[in-house]
């Protein structure tokens, strides 16, 4: 019981947001195309250093930090746990997102007069989102004795988790001087998936008349899993080789699409928007689902003194609310992400020895802008608003500073640096910098870095 309860409580604590406010529209980094396939990114060709070209991790919790639970401050752990549980609401969430680019690359199509680009790659992604199962936590901590009359909401269990690999191919084209359109197709290969996002039902205990209590449980719960069945029972295979196969399109497959554009109404004014992961995964292999559905009004034992036909409460319960194991195919939708930005640029960034080869980004040294991010979740969408400042410090060093407000933090300051020395591009982006003075108290941390080799675009004839 303890292990299960702890699992429920702990899983409800890890929350990663997928907002990549630093990477978005940071066009000196090719990986910014993954947040907008219509980014104004120019290159002759580039290649990401395998496994090092893009790594990002982000964990957020909307209501508590690691410190709140594990501080070595002499306060009993159970007290801290209670404080955390009772200070959260069922809409508090923990998210975790990790992406690791395995390989990536891109090239320009045609000669110097053309401005259309291909990019491709493969990355592995882990994505977990779980809401605080508050009523379950109360039952585990306190039981129902002191909660007569409270209706426990079975819908508080709402979580999803997935490990998948993504193969993608993107194309963006400068349609005219002012407009860049981009599209990216994706094939998902899901290594494992767990989702339980549409639970409903209730449980209550009130004072009764003929019985001591009126106790009713109505449940409609479903937990879908795929890719895990082999490991739940006696497993004799090679997990490493299994995961490798599933990574290389041997898992449960799905399709996705990214769309985006960049538009310059004026030379120094820029709009961008993108929709990322319009896609689904069909789970057909290694599926096992658990359904718990029914209604039970529990009255206890009812002795029959005349005929002796009394009830068996365990049978009664199992008949009323059976736990079924299903092997039915199911489909999950990828969390859909929306990004948009508006940017105003100013200041002459041309150095005296400028070769004037770049596009808009070299012309102006400074940019200020605002971004809006939204992501679908099983409940209300996640939203984040970012203000940012970008500066070309040297020709080889670009900086972006962000200030973000979202449901995890109201003072998220982030800083990103991208440096291109020779053909080698290195970038490092980190948000919630204020939290680094004591990361144990941080509710949200995001971190991205990567290494690429970029051959810059030439828009003059050699």
């Amino acid at each position: 019981m303890r292990k299960i309860s702890l699992f429920i409580i702990l899983i409800s604590m890890s929350c990663f947001s997928q907002n990549k406010q630093l990477l978005y529209n940071f066009t000196s980094v090719p990986q910014s195309m993954l947040t907008n396939p219509g980014s104004d990114v120019n290159y002759n060709w580039f290649v990401g250093i395998p496994l090092l070209s893009g790594f990002s991790a982000n964990v957020s919790s909307s209501s508590f930090s690691v410190y709140d639970l594990f501080a070595n401050n002499g306060v009993d752990f159970n007290t801290k746990l209670r404080n955390v549980v009772f200070s959260t609401s069922r809409n508090d969430k923990v998210t975790l997102n990790e992406q690791l680019e395995v390989f990536s690359g891109g090239f320009k199509l045609g000669d110097w007069q053309e401005s259309s680009y291909f990019s491709f790659g493969m990355y592995q992604e882990m994505d977990v989102l779980t809401y605080m199962p508050k009523d379950y936590a109360i039952l585990a901590l306190d039981g129902n004795k002191d909660y007569l009359g409270k209706v426990f909401d079975m819908g508080d269990l709402n979580a999803r988790g997935e490990l998948l690999s993504v193969f993608h191919l993107g194309y963006h084209k400068k349609v005219n001087e002012n407009l860049i359109l981009g599209v990216r197709g994706k094939i998902y290969s899901s290594i494992f998936n767990v989702s339980s996002t549409k639970n409903s039902g209730y449980f209550y205990t009130i004072q009764g008349t003929n019985n001591v209590y009126d106790q009713v449980i109505s449940a409609n719960g479903l937990v879908n899993t795929s890719g895990l069945t082999n490991y739940l029972e006696n497993y004799s295979g090679n997990a490493q080789s299994d995961i490798m196969k599933k990574t290389l399109l041997g898992g449960n497959l799905g399709l996705g699409l990214d769309l985006g554009f960049t538009y310059y109404p004026k030379e120094n004014l820029q709009f961008t928007a993108s929709l990322i992961d319009i896609g689904f995964i069909k789970h057909t292999k290694e599926i096992e689902s658990y359904r718990y559905k029914g209604y039970y009004n529990y009255v206890g034992l009812t002795p029959d003194f005349v005929l002796g036909n009394s009830n068996d409460i365990l049978d009664e319960f199992n008949d009323a609310i059976p736990l079924d194991t299903l092997h039915t195919k199911y489909t999950t939708w990828r969390p859909l992400k929306f990004n948009s930005s508006i940017q105003y640029s100013f200041g002459d960034g041309r150095s005296s020895d400028c070769n004037c080869s770049g596009g808009n980004k070299i012309k102006y040294a400074n940019s200020v802008g605002a971004q809006l991010f939204a992501m679908t979740t099983p409940r209300t969408p996640l939203m984040a608003l970012t203000a940012y400042y970008r500066r070309q410090i040297f020709e080889s060093l670009e900086m972006k500073a962000t200030y973000t407000v979202d449901s995890f933090s109201a003072k998220n300051i982030g800083l990103g640096l991208s440096t291109t020395i020779g053909k080698v591009n290195f970038y490092i982006l980190a948000d919630n910098l204020l939290e680094y003075k004591d990361i144990s108290k941080a509710r949200s941390l995001g971190f991205q870095m990567g290494l690429n080799i970029i051959f810059p675009d030439k828009n003059t004839f050699d």
Binding site: F70, L81, A140, G143, Y213, P303, S310, D438
Partner: protein, 193 residues
């Protein structure tokens, strides 16, 4: 996949993983953290207290009369293997059983609640005396607490039985009114460590 290729890929992944980990960790070492103690998880104690119905009955006075003959002894044995479940019982620390009788029949009763094992052998008896009703309602209640070694009796219980003995008094007929009602509940104290 070709074993050689697979090996080369694993080697590369291992090296790159190390590089990533070092970079990642160095960023975190640059930051500060309050003193944390994850071992505290071992102190976790879950002590929920659950309440639930145990049993209930409602016998009308005329149900004690079958074919014009008064039945002075009735009873029923029921399967009850809730507390004997191993996963359930190992987390038990105390169980309170509460009983409440409400008698509106003008006869007195001795009621025994038996805890029985698989072979119907008595493990424990909770006796009740319910006086006859002569105008004002009779309400009798009792709470029996099972903890420490007494809890083992409950854990061994596989069946329970109610046996009702009607004590001598004014004979009941098909036309007699009143009820002998009983309701009971369990308060279960868990201790998960």
């Amino acid at each position: 996949m070709n074993i050689f290729v697979e090996n080369v890929i694993y080697q590369y992944i291992t090296i790159m993983n190390k590089f990533l980990r070092i970079t990642f960790l160095s960023v975190f070492f640059l930051s500060c953290s309050s003193d944390l103690d994850f071992e505290q998880v071992n102190d976790l104690k879950l002590e929920p207290i659950a309440v639930a119905n145990l049993a209930a009955f409602d016998i009308k006075a005329n149900q004690f009369v079958v074919g014009g003959v008064e039945q002075s002894l009735v009873g029923d044995v029921m399967d009850f293997d809730v507390f004997s479940d191993v996963d359930f019982s190992k987390n038990l620390s105390r169980v309170d059983l509460f009983f409440e009788f409400n008698n509106t029949i003008n006869r007195a009763y001795n009621v025994n609640f038996y805890l029985l094992d698989d072979n119907n052998s008595k493990l424990y008896t909770i006796p009740f005396f319910v006086p006859a009703n002569s105008g004002s309602p009779i309400v009798i209640s009792k709470t029996e607490i099972f903890e420490n070694t007494k809890l083992d009796i409950l854990i061994k219980t596989k069946k329970v039985a109610f046996v009702i003995t009607m004590l001598p008094g004014t004979p009941l007929t098909d036309a007699s009114v009143g009820n002998l009602k009983m309701r009971s509940s369990a308060t279960i104290y868990f201790l998960g460590q």
